[in-house]
Amino acid sequence: MAEPYQRQSALAHLGLAARAAADREKSDAGVQLGERAFPGQLNLRGDPGNEEFMDAASGTVDCVLPTVPNTSAGEDDLEEGPRVLWLAPVEWLIVTAAGAEEALAGELVAAAAGCGGSVTDVSDARTVIVLQGPNARDVLMKGCPLDLHPDVFRPGHCAQSLLARAAVILYRRADEADGSASFEIHVTRSFADYLWVWLEDAAGEYGVQVIEV
């Protein structure tokens, strides 16, 4: 990890905090956008058929590693604990609150490395863009080939796909208090600026409020 004082989020140059402050009173926007900076992200690999590995890894992340494709396990609210996304039959993405990844990576290595597990800290590879509001799904549907019907891609579901041709990992959070959908978009750092600009443009017709995440 970079020295904390040198670390800049992928969208730091956009001045999102100032824009969020200016947008605070905005109430009629159909879409809310924000960057969740410095998400802790660990790539975990291992054999789901190996009981020893599954027990060790699941015990460390406080939930059973999901083996059903396109689903997640663990916490929706990262302050409560890590969230585990299914990426592939032998691969998971563990998402943590900012700063919690280093300790967890150490624990995971200690628990799972002896039974074929492999852990890589990929926190700086991607940033997370939060997209929510009544028209959030309409925005995604403009550039993503996934079936995003609310009954198909439900809260807790995740998928790797393309959004406006950028490779993303999409996670649907628990719905907002007003019943509207909320998504987290993991996007590689080098595509973050491009995707943010695309999202703002695609969401323009519904009204955009920049939020602090």
Binding site: P69, N70, L87, E91, P145, L146, A159, Q160, L162
Partner: protein
């Protein structure tokens, strides 16, 4: 645009995948024993049928797994999706 069913992720749009060419081509175990013609045949010659064709696909922007697809090259109909290492389900060809 094809809708391809990844054996793990389920039905996904073609843009998430890449095609790896004809499936079931086994590397000769003793290349040095082959004639130049037989080696060239292994390297370059493909069946190119009009009709069912077994090919390898990878879910590049999804789970990044390889698998086999039996696709009708004339109609683009996908007849079967099956794991690497499994025989061609219609019993045809190599």
């Amino acid at each position: 645009m094809l809708l391809i069913t990844c054996p793990w992720c389920g039905p996904r749009d073609e843009i998430e995948f890449s095609c790896g060419g004809e499936a079931h081509i086994t590397r000769p175990s003793e290349p040095e024993a082959l004639t130049d013609e037989a080696w060239a045949d292994y390297l370059f010659n493909r069946t190119n049928p009009k009709g069912p064709h077994a090919e390898r696909w990878v879910h590049t922007h999804g789970c990044r797994r390889w698998f086999n697809v039996l696709r009708n090259t004339a109609t683009n109909e996908i007849l079967a999706v099956y794991e690497m290492g499994k025989p061609r389900p219609d019993g045809e060809g190599s």
